[in-house]
């Protein structure tokens, strides 16, 4: 324990989806010394598409519980439907997507027809990539408990970091501010917010910033496709100054980015001299310096 450096975790978040989190994460994976790479966007996992992974292990994650009815025992009292606060059960069926697995229906069923059963939520995948080990998760279709799956992926990442003596983790986060985002940012040292200069990008960014404030996690900012709306880019920069979310890079729209994604190679390796690669190198240097000093 004493020999290992303290572990540093950086999460890449955005609020709004599709702003470039995964592209940025893949470049940082390329720019840093080997780090543990974590895909915490378990219901739309894409980081592996950029990192040519070789899968080492894949195991099931049984996380969620749902109510299951034995029709032979059901006496049609309707007690479950009346009691359930999640509209998850009717006389005909249980709606798994709404069932929270709270067990109130099980407790209150007069004929003991209901039980809670654990169901398959998804898979946790460990892989090796040229940029470092990758831990990711994949929700099964219509799977439940995505937040718990993220936490499970994070646990695997911690174990890999310890086993391989790696002191840095890069976490590609999900959009939004709900349970998966909260699971992705637990215990991180720094959040990098990737946004675009749009009315919705700014709106969503403010909510993520508020969430990070809640957990007292410092943040910095990268504005992607900054030339789509220079005025909003400027507002983002000013907002960053006021909110202490320093702007590390404003990246222009660059044709090389979609080509790198199509090739499945981080942009900083695919087109090292492109303007976006230069901006990302600068941003990563700032992050690395911050991690050293903090």
């Amino acid at each position: 324990m004493a020999a290992t450096q303290s572990v540093r975790r950086v999460v890449i978040l955005s609020g709004k989806g599709g702003t470039g989190k995964t592209t940025v994460t893949s470049c940082f994976a390329d720019l840093t010394q080997p780090a543990v790479l974590v895909d915490a966007d378990v219901d739309a996992a894409n980081l592996h598409l950029m990192l040519t992974p070789e899968i080492i292990s894949q195991r099931e994650f049984w996380g969620a519980k749902v109510a299951v009815r034995d029709p032979a025992k059901c006496n049609g009292s309707g007690e479950c439907e009346r009691r359930c606060r999640f509209d998850a059960i009717t006389e005909e069926r249980v709606y798994d997507s709404r069932c929270e697995g709270c067990g109130l229906c099980v407790l209150t069923c007069p004929s003991g027809a209901l039980t809670l059963e654990t169901v398959l939520s998804g898979h946790v995948v460990e892989a090796r990539t040229p940029y470092g080990p990758l831990a990711s998760g994949r929700l099964v279709p219509a799977g439940e408990s995505s937040g718990k799956l993220v936490t499970e992926v994070r646990n695997v990442a911690d174990a890999v970091a310890e086993a391989e003596g790696l002191s840095l983790q890069l976490i590609d986060g999900p959009p939004g501010i709900g349970c998966t985002a909260i699971a992705a940012l637990a215990g991180v040292d720094l959040a990098l917010l990737v946004t675009e200069p749009s009315a919705s990008g700014l709106h969503d960014l403010k909510r993520v910033r508020q969430l990070l404030g809640h957990f007292q996690i410092p943040a910095s900012l990268i504005v992607n496709r900054c030339d789509i709306n220079p005025e909003t880019t400027e507002s983002l920069r000013r907002w960053g100054v006021e909110e202490r979310v320093p702007l590390l890079a404003a990246l222009p729209f660059d044709e090389a980015v979609p080509r790198a994604v199509r090739a499945g190679v981080p942009l900083t390796r695919f087109a090292p001299s492109s303007p976006v690669s230069a901006g990302l190198r600068q941003a990563w240097d700032a992050v690395a310096a911050w991690l050293q000093s903090a």
Binding site: S14, K16, G17, G18, T19, T22, V42, D43, A44, A45, N46, L49, K65, R83, R85, F86, Y95, S97, R98, E100, C102, G103, L104, L107, T108, L116, L139, P141, A142, G143, E144, S146, P174, P175, G176, I177, G178, C179, T180, I182, E196, P197, S198, A199, S200, G201, H203, D204, R207, Q210, L211, H214, R225, I228, N229, T232, P258, V261, R262, G264
Partner: protein
């Protein structure tokens, strides 16, 4: 005549940022104007709702969404620990001579209150979000759910948005990204789901997950392909077996700039009105085929 039965259309994607809100808002406008039909747009992306921003309706109602958290009366409590036993998420615990409640973990399911043999637990409301309703000049009623920042669970707010009094003839639902519970709760029970995607490896991979999720929920779906390069045909793998392509939108700087300013496609580009109206008729036709 076939246009007169109620219809609920979901707009989802899997991947974020492909244009769900762009399509949902403009589809709602197209329906209102072409049909003169009452339309309601439900923004179920309660973590990051943006439909309101694009449509700027006149607000006429705003309500909080509350859940009921347990509260213990220690004068009645016998410290039997039954509450902690029944709680599936360990949000209530007996610690020495106290009952401790962890509000952030609590699902507000009511199991502990039900299980307490001496009625020492009661419930107090806790606000987890809000729902506001407004009307646009075109006649689109917008209902937006907004999760309070710091809350983990979107379910109670999504449920409140979808529990609308008197459903209108057509409802359009703007879904959150991903394919997890929040998306499933937005899409389940709709008559048809439009999946908005883009011709990139990420778009393709997430579209596959979204199609599988719709199939698991028993909701038929079709695809809108956004940001196609000019002259680029729709790649075959963006319209999997039985999932038709409903509309193609080219990569266009003008559209991206208007969106960045918070302008709805339907309002900013009159040329797009006809294709969006056509999208509505296609969805009606496909959803109708299914119900026969």
């Amino acid at each position: 005549m076939s246009n007169r039965y109620p219809l609920t259309i979901g707009v989802a994607a899997g991947k974020g940022g492909t244009g769900k809100t762009l399509i949902a808002t403009s589809l709602a406008l197209a329906i209102a104007e072409s049909d003169g039909t009452p339309v309601r747009l439900l923004d179920c992306d309660v973590e990051e709702p943006n439909s309101w921003l694009l449509l700027s309706p006149d607000e006429h109602e705003r309500r909080t969404v509350d859940v009921a958290l347990p509260k213990v009366d220690m004068d009645l409590c016998t410290l039997c620990g039954r509450c902690a036993e029944v709680c599936e998420v360990s949000a209530i615990a007996r610690i020495r001579d106290k009952i401790v409640i962890f509000p952030d973990l609590c699902f507000a399911c009511g199991s502990c209150v039900f299980a307490c043999p001496v009625n020492a637990l009661s419930e107090v409301p806790k606000t987890v979000g809000e729902v506001r309703t407004g009307l646009t000049p075109e006649g689109v009623e917008v209902r937006e759910g907004r999760l309070a920042v710091g809350q983990m669970r979107a379910g109670p707010v999504t449920r409140e948005v979808r529990t609308a009094v008197e459903p209108p003839l057509v409802t359009v639902i703007d879904s959150p990204p991903g394919t997890a519970c929040p998306m499933q709760q937005a899409v389940e029970g709709t008559d048809f789901c439009i999946l908005v995607t883009e011709p990139t490896p990420f778009g393709r991979s997430d579209l596959r997950a979204a199609v599988e999720t719709c199939q698991a929920l028993g909701v038929p779906c079709g695809v809108v392909v956004n940001r196609l390069d000019p002259g680029e045909p729709v790649p075959d793998d963006l319209s999997p077996e039985g999932v038709p392509v409903l509309l193609e939108i080219p990569h266009d700087r003008g559209i991206a700039e208007a969106y960045s300013r918070g302008e709805a496609l339907y309002r900013a580009f009159p040329a797009w009105r006809e294709p969006l109206t056509h999208l509505y008729h296609e969805v009606r036709r496909l959803a109708g085929t299914r119900s026969e």
